[in-house]
Subunit: 214 residues, 2 copies
C-alpha cells in the first residue's frame, strides 16, 4: 500500500508545482526540467505519470479547475437561504478578494496554446463548459426570482459574464490594480439586474452600493 500512496503524493506535487510555474511563466516559458528540479525527481519518474508535456499540462488545467471549483462549491453551500443573485455576487466577491494574483491558468492556456494543442483545447472546452453551466444555473434561478432580466437566455448571460471575467483578469495583469476585477464585475452584474434585483443587491453589499453609486 505504501508505494501507490508515495506515487500519488509525487504526482500531486508535480501537478501543483507545474501549475504554479505555468501561471508564472506560461507554457513556452516552463520547461519539464525546471519542474523536475523544483520537485527534485528524475526525468524517468515524470514519464511514469505523463506521456508528454502536453498531456501533463492538460492534466494541470483539469486539476486547477477542480481546485477553484471546489472552493466555489463550498462557498456556495454557505448561502443556501440567500437569493441566487446575492449568492452569485458574494461568491465572486469572496473569490476575487482571496485571490493571490489576478492570473488565471485557464485564460492563459486558452491564449497561449489552445490553437497549437488539440488535447489542451479539448480540456479547456470541458472545464469552461462546467464553469459556465454553474454560472447559468445561478443566473436562471435569479431570473426566476425576478432579480435578473429575462430577455436574454441565462446560458448567454453566463458565457458573457465568464468572458467579461477573463477579460477583467487580463486588465488586472496590465493595470496591477487589485480592485479592478471586482469593480468590473459589479458593472457587469448591474447590467443584468432588474429594479428589484438592484434594490436587493444595494442592501446586501456595501461594496456594490459604494462602487456603483446606488
Amino acid at each position: 500500500m505504501a508505494r501507490p500512496r508515495k506515487n500519488d503524493h509525487l504526482k500531486q506535487k508535480l501537478l501543483e508545482t507545474g501549475m504554479r510555474l505555468l501561471i508564472d511563466n506560461g507554457y513556452h516559458g516552463t520547461g519539464i526540467k525546471q519542474i523536475l528540479d523544483a520537485v527534485n525527481v528524475p526525468k524517468g519518474s515524470f514519464y511514469n505519470f505523463f506521456t508528454s508535456k502536453e498531456q501533463f499540462v492538460s492534466e494541470i488545467i483539469t486539476y486547477y479547475s477542480t481546485v477553484i471549483s471546489d472552493e466555489f462549491s463550498s462557498f456556495l453551500k454557505t448561502f443556501k437561504n440567500e437569493s441566487a443573485i446575492i449568492t452569485f455576487w458574494l461568491c465572486f466577491q469572496e473569490k476575487v478578494n482571496t485571490s493571490e494574483s489576478g492570473a488565471c491558468l485557464i485564460g492563459a492556456m486558452a491564449s497561449e496554446i489552445a490553437q497549437s494543442s488539440e488535447l489542451c483545447r479539448r480540456t479547456l472546452i470541458n472545464v469552461e463548459a462546467a464553469w459556465i453551466s454553474t454560472l447559468a444555473l445561478l443566473l436562471k434561478c435569479s431570473q426566476q426570482q425576478g432579480d435578473v432580466r429575462n430577455d436574454l437566455k441565462a446560458e448567454d448571460l453566463a458565457s458573457s459574464f465568464y468572458n467579461h471575467w477573463q477579460g477583467s483578469l487580463l486588465e488586472f495583469q496590465v493595470s496591477n490594480n487589485p480592485d479592478i476585477v471586482l469593480h468590473r464585475l459589479a458593472t457587469f452584474v448591474r447590467l443584468l439586474l432588474t429594479e428589484q434585483g438592484h434594490t436587493k443587491m444595494a442592501s446586501c453589499s456595501h461594496y456594490f452600493k459604494d462602487n456603483l453609486n446606488v
Copy 2:
C-alpha cells in the same frame, strides 16, 4: 536618401514578421533568431533598430494597435450620419467579420508578459487606454442620443465592453467557432441598450435581430 528608406523598410519588415510570429507562438515561443531567419537579416541589423527582445515586442504592441486602430478609424469615418450605437456595432461587426483569426496580440501579451516586463506592461496600458477612450466616446454619444442606458458611466461601460471583447476572443481560440465573438458582442450590446436603442439596432442589423430574437 536611399539608406534611411531601406532601413525604414527593414524595420517595418521586422515589426510585421515579429507581430505574426508573436501572434502564432507567443513571447516565449518566439526567438529573435527565428525572426531574423524569416526576414533574412543578420543579428547586427536587428540591434541597430532595437536594444532587446523586450523593446522589440513593446514596439510591436504599439505597431499592432496602430494598424487595428487605423482600420477602425477609417471605418468610423464612413458612418458619419448614423447614430453612435449603430456606428459602434457596425464597426465591430466589420472588424470581427474581416479578422483572419480570433487571436489578439494585446490580450496575448497581457496574459503572457505584462507581469514580467514592466516596459511591455506600460505599453499595454497606453494602447488599451487609447482603445477604451475611443469606445467611451461612442458610448457617451449613444447615451446622449438616448440609445444606451445612462445609469453607468460611459468609461466604465467601455472598459467592460473591452474586457468582454478580449474574453470573447479567448473563447474563439478555445471553441474554434468563428461566429462566437459576434454573438457575444451582440449579447453585451443588448445589455446596454434602452428600448429606443433596441428598436434602432433591430432595424439596422439583421444579424443583431436574428441573433437576439428581437
